[in-house]
Subunit: 123 residues, 2 copies
């Protein structure tokens, strides 16, 4: 059961270039969180992902999906039909990750308006 302490956090934080930082960059990349969350609800096809994750370009969709697939978060299943059909879904590992992402995103979504439009409050 590794903790942030074991990972070298206390009194030195995660070393730059360590696996945890690399992975953090993958997950928190511009489109990573959005794709993971989108797929956490249901498996989606390429075209559906493009529409659901509004604003993503084909290039970034392909690129981000490949990274997420390489990390074992996303499963790509292609039907060799014509026209082709490709489904993207989360692996067990990806679902575990998404389970941590979802509360975060829900909190952010729930406070976004007051934070962005309201004044920064002291605390």
């Amino acid at each position: 059961m590794p903790s942030l302490e074991r990972a070298g956090f206390t009194g030195g934080v995660l070393p730059s270039g360590c696996p945890t930082r690399v992975l953090l960059d993958h997950v928190t990349s511009k489109w990573g969180v959005l794709l993971l969350i989108a797929l956490s609800e249901e498996s989606l096809r390429w075209g559906e992902l493009r529409r659901v994750v509004e604003g993503i370009s084909e290039k970034m969709l392909a690129q981000t999906l490949r990274v997420l697939e390489g990390d074992g978060f996303v499963l790509r299943e292609a039907e060799p039909t014509i026209p082709p059909r490709v489904d993207y879904s989360l692996t067990d590992r990806g679902r575990e990750l998404a389970d941590h992402l979802r509360p975060l995103l829900e909190w952010i979504a729930g406070h976004a308006d007051e934070i962005i439009f309201g004044a920064a409050q002291q605390g």
Copy 2:
């Protein structure tokens, strides 16, 4: 209690440019998560932050802190002494956010090695 659904997630995802996406970009910026986590343990001075968050440049430290301060996550307290002393800490809001970030980072730290060095596993 806003949910992702209320925020426009289902069948359309968070609209590009919406407050939630803006905030998500702030939090998941290259150094955002690391700074938030670092400050979640204890309040730190400028110089300590530089050392603790290994690899961050002064420019990005200043820039990211200002964004986080603007969102009301980070509190900056300067003592008008010579030499100056400035402490950075989390606001209540920042602590709430960090409480969601920490489990995520712990999960990532706990799986980073097997994911980065091991083979991508199916699921």
